[in-house]
């Protein structure tokens, strides 16, 4: 066996967490540096992973398999394919930049970093494991620390409420995921939780697929978040500290889409066919309704939260088209939206650190005093509204192409969101950053050079993957082709 | 009459039902205890009658009956002690007054 790179990606953050726990709480800088080094190594590993993944071979690579619980057919089965490699990279990027973004946090640094990195570990696990048991474990590990992270380090008086709602809705969803996984296990009757095995030899009747898909759809839909269960997301974003919002919107929401693409669709293609219309209808709500609701928000993070709802709707919309382009678009949208939201939240955070308010109506003319923060928000906004050259454009283009082809009317309706998104983003930029500076904010310092580093990294990622989407899309396509083959010629 | 099984079972059933009613509605703890004794007696009757009917030669029913009686004694002892303790605190032995723990 070669160097176990996947386990290293999992273990290094874990070791970081343990090291942090054994550091004295007073040594704040030590803790920060430990976190930075740990996540930095992970980031490098993930870059290495992305580079060294053999694109011509495709399929699952870097497999590691250890028999774990033999009587339940559970294996410690790690492996990445074209779908997971970019997401691993995304997560590594988000946590690495997240650590830097939260450098300013002074309160209970130790716990904060421990929880933050623990959260990222869970996400890594979800993206890398191929065993449903471990999937379930990591899935909730990724959700769990959110409560404390938001409730302790969050902002606003609603933060506890938001944290509770977030945690509970996500657990509510995961209850369905768990039930689905178990029922899948039973229905397959192979006494294995390995996704690979199940993919290879499990047979499900159409009714069973439909039922199971519904379970997964409810479960993953609540984290994506799909329309009626989306309300946790804007509130959660709004109250969370920047780094947490980044990880949360940037990576955590992707778990839902990833779960659908990883488990539900390859195993239950018939189920998708049954529920595609419902999924499409809900995603329409997400896309259009989310965008319109974002207009009415006064809190910038709320606005970004609703924009996330809108954009994640595109993931669902892409999936519901059941075409290669749609799935590509959905997968790419997950990746691209991750970077954009990370940028959104980190740039809002860079401003919020100084102003301590995010109310659009309170702010104004921030660009005069904090040109850097303003610049990065503008870049994020431009990327978010689908400006060509940035990664999200590619994703939206593919989703819309597939959408217009499959559901012409609804596809066109969903394009309205492009205008609406432009409206609220630009309106926000105008009202927050442009105009005369409120004397209240006069003299606040801009983001420092160090603060800018993570932002620059994210912008670079946005540009690189926007200009050369093939870097990621080729990887994603390795897997989406298989999915489409499973779905059959539609 | 005395040689058919059912009257015995009916008697035991009546005793148990009466005991249960008493336990459910009488507020005096001692009377509740008395009712539990009635239930236990009903059980014993049932057990012995069935034993007599299905397994005449078997002493098991009797042995169990003995144990039940002994258990009842032990139980009464502890229950009375606890009732006594309650009385010391509450100055009465009303089951409905024991409601400091609730919710």
């Amino acid at each position: 066996m070669n160097f176990p790179i996947l386990s290293s990606i999992l273990i290094i953050p874990t070791i970081t967490v343990v090291l942090i726990l054994f550091t004295k709480p007073e040594q704040k800088n030590t803790i920060r540096v430990i976190s930075l080094i740990g996540t930095g190594i992970t980031f490098l590993l993930s870059v290495f992973l992305m580079v060294s993944y053999d694109r011509s071979a495709g399929g699952v690579q870097f497999m590691e398999s250890v028999s774990w619980i033999p009587s339940y057919g559970i294996n410690y089965l790690m492996g990445v394919d074209g779908l997971s490699v970019p997401l691993v990279f995304l997560n590594a990027l988000a946590i690495f930049t997240g650590v830097m973004v939260s450098w300013h946090i002074e309160e209970r640094v130790k716990e904060f970093y421990a929880l933050l990195i623990f959260l990222a570990t869970g996400v890594f696990g979800v993206f890398m494991t191929l065993d449903l048991f471990f999937f379930a474990i990591f899935y909730e590990v990724a959700v769990l620390p959110m409560y404390l992270l938001i409730a302790i380090w969050g902002s606003g008086k609603n933060r506890e409420y938001a944290a509770f709602k977030l945690t509970l809705v996500l657990f509510f969803g995961s209850a369905f995921v768990m039930g689905g996984i178990l029922y899948l296990y039973k229905a397959a009757g192979l006494n294995t939780f390995s996704i690979l095995e199940l993919k290879k030899s499990a047979q499900f009747t159409t009714n069973m697929q439909s039922l199971l898909f519904l379970l997964f759809f409810i479960g993953f839909g609540s984290i994506i978040p799909s329309f009626p269960m989306h309300t946790w997301s804007p509130e959660g974003h709004a109250c969370a500290p920047s780094a947490v919002s980044m990880l949360h919107a940037g990576v955590l929401m992707k778990l839902g889409g990833y779960g659908l693409l990883r488990i539900a669709i390859p195993l239950l293609p018939e189920g998708l066919r049954d529920w595609a219309l419902v999924m499409m209808a809900l995603s329409m709500c997400n896309i259009v309704y989310g965008a319109f609701t974002a207009i009415a928000q006064d809190d910038m993070k709320f606005m970004v939260g609703f924009s996330s709802v809108s954009h994640m709707g595109m993931v669902l919309f892409g999936i519901s088209t059941m075409t290669l382009t749609g799935l590509n678009g959905a997968a790419f949208q997950m990746f691209a939206h991750g970077i954009v939201t990370a940028l959104y939240f980190s740039s809002i955070g860079a401003m919020y650190n100084k102003t301590h308010t995010r109310m659009i109506s309170d702010l104004g003319g921030i660009a005069n005093i904090m040109p850097r923060a303003a610049f990065f928000f503008a870049v994020a906004g431009m990327a978010g509204l689908g400006l060509p050259g940035f990664a999200p454009f590619v994703a939206e283009l593919m989703v819309f192409i597939a959408g217009v082809k499959k559901y012409p009317l609804f596809g066109i309706i969903s394009v309205i969101s492009v205008v609406v998104t432009a409206f609220y983003i630009i309106r926000c930029i105008q009202r927050v950053y442009f105009g005369k500076t409120n004397p209240k904010w006069e003299g606040l310092p801009d983001a420092t050079n160090f603060d800018v580093v993570p932002l620059v990294m994210l912008v670079a990622a946005l540009l690189i993957f926007g200009m050369f989407p093939s870097l990621v899309l080729d990887l994603l396509q390795l897997e989406t082709r298989n999915l489409v083959a499973k779905l059959g010629v539609m | 009459m005395a040689s058919s099984l059912f009257p015995y079972l009916l008697l035991s059933l009546i005793l148990i039902s009466l005991g249960l009613v008493g336990v459910f509605i009488r507020r005096n703890l001692v009377i509740m205890l008395i009712c539990i004794e009635l239930i236990l007696n009903g059980v014993t009757i049932n057990l012995l009658a069935i034993n007599r009917f299905v397994a005449n030669g078997h002493a098991l029913g009797q042995v169990i009956a003995i144990f039940i009686i002994a258990l009842a004694a032990a139980e009464t002892t502890i229950a009375l002690a606890l009732i006594f303790l309650t009385f010391k605190h509450y100055k009465e032995i009303d089951a409905e007054k024991l409601n400091e723990l609730k919710g």
């Binding site: 409560y147 945690t167 | 723990l101």
Partner: protein, 471 residues
């Protein structure tokens, strides 16, 4: 033979030693140390006999890995509980310290025998032995009103439950004039779908359901947990549940044909239990009361595994009980530190614990989350196994309800955890603890995570035990 029975014999002797202590008042520290040493020897003895097998006392007493594993847990629980009763305990306990230890030990003896008994009378009487000891224990705080109230409630509900249970047995008696579970096990295949038998078994179960605090006999739990001393509560909540689960596992597995016909009924009961526990726990302000409701809910989960009546379900349940003991004990231990310090068992008393004593707070947090079934902690893994066995029988709805229930439970567990983590403490003084508490906390943290992530060792143990039980 004698050697296999050493734990029971030792336990008996131990209780006698405490009676002797009670005759002449000793120094409390001496008594405590003696108790700890003795209970530790108890654990060692169980460990020594862990692989013993045999059928004793006219086939009425079975020693196998299953019974010995349960005994090990019970012995460990006793040791833990002894540790909790220290010099900071209530004055009533300190005044009658040897007696207190005596009752714990006698209850323990009863549970030991419950774990091994395969004969009805032995089983029932050992259950009563442990119950009666605990009736006394729950009323032990003589200077407290609530303690007496708890004792009265406990004993009356217990007495009714056991009387009904006896009535049920007397109905079963009409079919099997035998008290050996082993021989009944082989007879039970003949008659199954009979109303009287069904009623008999339902009634018969009530004493055990009472012990496990499952509906219909679950209502005592909150009041008794709240009213009793924390030590006693811990004992009731952890050790006595272990014993009850062991007994129920045995009964269900021995009477599979009968219980299969009422599987769905029992599942309804289990679901009602967990829902009731969770729904009521949400609004609790008192940590002990909250834990009582939570343990009702937990009992509901365990019932699911028990009702499955197969190898996987039983092994999973045993696994869950194993982990449950440690999780629940951890929470109680931490709560006990606070209650002893402040004399206040409300959740608010935990304010700022994470700053006063990060270790305790972390241990409690993990234990709570584990109880709530959050991965990667052991509680999740146990639940996963239980629900896997349930889904094997096709109960998807049940599993969904159970998972949703655990979502509710996460809510109220977080309500507790948030006091510890979110708020500033009133006084920043670290919580006074002793070495044991600290060591235990570390051990619990490691156990909860390690066993959750790598449950294989423990699972294979429980599977082996269940294999022997099924034999």
């Amino acid at each position: 033979m004698i050697f296999s029975l050493l734990p029971e014999i030792f336990c008996f002797l131990m209780s006698l030693v405490f009676i002797i202590f009670s005759l002449k008042k000793q120094d409390i520290n001496f008594e405590r140390k003696a108790g700890l040493i003795l209970s530790f020897i108890n654990i060692v003895l169980v460990l020594l006999t862990i692989n013993h097998q045999g059928l004793y006392f006219s086939e009425g007493y079975k020693i196998d890995l299953f019974s010995q594993s349960v005994k090990l847990l019970i012995a460990i629980g006793l040791f833990f509980v002894f540790f909790m009763a220290d010099e900071r305990s209530e004055s009533a306990i300190k005044k009658s310290y040897p007696e207190f230890l005596f009752f714990l030990t006698s209850a323990n003896l009863g549970m030991f025998m419950m774990a091994s008994a395969v004969e009805f009378v032995t089983l029932f009487l050992s259950l009563e032995l442990s119950s009666y000891s605990m009736f006394v224990l729950s009323g032990f705080l003589k200077n407290k009103k609530v303690s007496a109230e708890a004792g009265v409630k406990y004993i009356f509900i217990g007495a009714v439950a056991s009387a009904i249970s006896l009535y049920g047995y007397s109905l079963i008696f009409g079919y099997y004039v035998d008290s050996s579970l082993l021989s009944m096990k082989f007879n039970s295949i003949t008659v199954t779908k009979d109303v009287m038998l069904y009623i008999g078994f339902i009634f018969f179960l009530s004493a055990f359901l009472f012990k496990l605090a499952v509906l219909p006999f679950a209502f005592w739990a909150p009041d008794v947990y709240q009213g009793s001393d924390t030590t006693v509560t811990t004992y009731i909540a952890t050790v006595s549940k272990v014993a009850a689960v062991a007994v129920l596992l045995r009964i269900f597995i021995y009477f599979i044909p009968i219980f299969e016909s009422m599987e769905k009924v029992m599942l309804v009961v289990a679901v009602m239990t967990m829902t009731l526990g969770n729904v009521l726990a949400v609004q609790q302000k008192d940590i002990k009361r909250l834990l009582a409701y939570s343990s009702i809910a937990q009992a509901g989960y365990m019932m699911v595994g028990i009702i499955m009546m197969n190898y996987k379900g039983a092994a999973a349940t045993l696994f869950y009980v194993f982990s449950y003991l440690f999780m629940n004990y951890t929470v109680f231990l931490v709560a006990d530190q606070i209650i002893k310090e402040k004399g206040d068992s409300s959740i608010e008393a935990l304010r700022g614990l994470s700053q006063r004593s990060p270790l305790l707070a972390l241990a409690m947090l993990l234990a709570l989350l584990s109880l709530g079934g959050v991965p990667p902690f052991v509680g999740f893994t146990g639940k996963w196994f239980i629900f896997t066995s349930a889904i094997d029988k096709g109960y998807l709805g049940l599993v969904l309800i159970a998972f949703l229930n655990s979502v509710i439970s996460v809510y109220y567990y977080l309500l507790v955890a948030r006091q510890a983590y979110l708020f500033e403490p009133i006084d920043k003084e670290p919580v006074k603890t002793n070495l044991f508490v600290n060591l235990y906390s570390y051990a619990a943290i490691i156990f909860i995570i390690a066993a959750g992530f790598y449950p294989t060792l423990m699972l294979s143990w429980t599977e082996k035990a269940i294999k022997l039980l099924l034999m």
